[in-house]
Amino acid sequence: MSTETTTLTKQDALFEYLVRLADDRLILGHRLSEWCGHGPILEEDIALANISLDYIGHAASLYEYAVEVEDKGRHRDNLVYFRNDVEYKNLKITELPKGDFGFTIARQFLFAGFSYFLYKQLSDVEDEQFAGMAQKHLKEVKYHLRHSREWVLRLGDGTDESHERIQNSFNDIWTYVGELFHQDEIEELLQGEKLAADSENFKSDWKELVVDTLEEATLEVPDFDQFMVEGSRDGLHTEHLGHLLAEMQHLRRSYPDADWE
């Protein structure tokens, strides 16, 4: 990690960038896994479990590449099980409790839409392995976006109850969407090397997708200029992340040498 006395190297920045991307997907994947056995209908139970597996798979390959870039012989699981909440860099939008089905769908739609544009850009980075991963993830994210978008339409333009619930979900989650487009010196350094996406370039496309979909779903689009929370990339989190990590990490920390084999 960089401090003010050391200069940020390309290697440090790429490691940090990959870990951020991986953290977002691991934490969201974990949240989605909580639906397993609790989905509103069997098909959705299966769908959410499948999407959760995709996210955790994306995180696994990003962590794997991160430790390779770091080149200190660290195992990727070490990043997952032995970091505390302040060391996690996931965006707060990914760690919020799963809420009701409407909340889960609202978050999935906003995040999948963002990931779609992000991975399109990352598919062209000047790093064969990173670009290859992004191309693979992009194919899967298209299914996530199609799935969540159709549910936004179905719930928004459904019954009074479903309409109200998903509208409330979008209103509640809105303060967390600003951070999706937060960029700092990590992105700036890597953009110069053609190793990172520039979310400024697709912000308007993402907004258009969101506005079009919400309007088609007869939902009101919350105010993009309202107060937005910050600080996730510096390790500032809600109280929910600590509880999630406790559940995810306790077995590994209790039995650090345990192995499946």
């Binding site: 499948n50 959760s52 597996l53 994306h58 392995q129 290859g132 693979k136």
Partner: protein
């Protein structure tokens, strides 16, 4: 199990690999699915390159173990199975014969993948028509984009009243 190492040429290794099936689609081998990409033999060491299908596919580890087992029981002791991410797996790699086998197994096979330019527009149009693998009717309906595994979607045929799975194009 043979005690001394046995030597094989490349074709023979490919032949051994054709015995390895996808545990979730047992009618197809990892060759027909395009999971096994390359075999190299250097100083008697066999190296097999595989490429994962879906990122979260739980079958990948089982497939890797199965490849190792097949090589070992055939007397190969010096080998390596590597994952290769440089090429992105696509259902376009599936052979026509493989697609026919899928259909006979009751899974509607994948068509050709779309180009990315159409994607955002395709979100707004209704989903593609997938013919029923049992009666070939096109009077079918998408029930869920996600079936029993990440690679399959769930459909229903209104003519023969059978639910069926479709191997998604990716």
């Amino acid at each position: 199990m043979p005690k001394t190492p046995v030597k094989y040429n490349k074709d023979e290794i490919w032949n051994l690999l054709s015995e390895v099936k996808d545990p979730e689609i047992p009618v197809l081998s990892i060759l027909e699915l395009g999971i096994a990409r390359e075999v190299t033999i250097e100083n008697d060491k066999v190296v097999v390159q595989i490429t994962p299908t879906y990122s979260g596919c739980p079958a990948m580890n089982a497939i890797e173990n199965e490849i190792e087992k097949v090589l070992r029981v055939n007397g190969i002791q010096d080998f390596e199975v590597n994952k290769d991410f440089s090429e992105t797996w696509t259902t376009d790699w599936m052979t026509d014969k493989a697609k026919q086998k899928l259909k006979e197994y009751g899974i509607a096979p994948p068509g050709k993948t779309d180009t990315d330019d159409d994607f955002l527009n395709s979100l707004k149009s209704s989903s593609k028509i997938i013919p029923c693998p049992y009666c070939d009717s096109t009077n079918t309906e998408l029930q869920s984009e996600f079936g029993s595994t990440a690679c399959k979607a769930q459909y229903y045929c209104h003519d023969c009243d059978e639910p069926f799975e479709h191997f998604k194009c990716i």
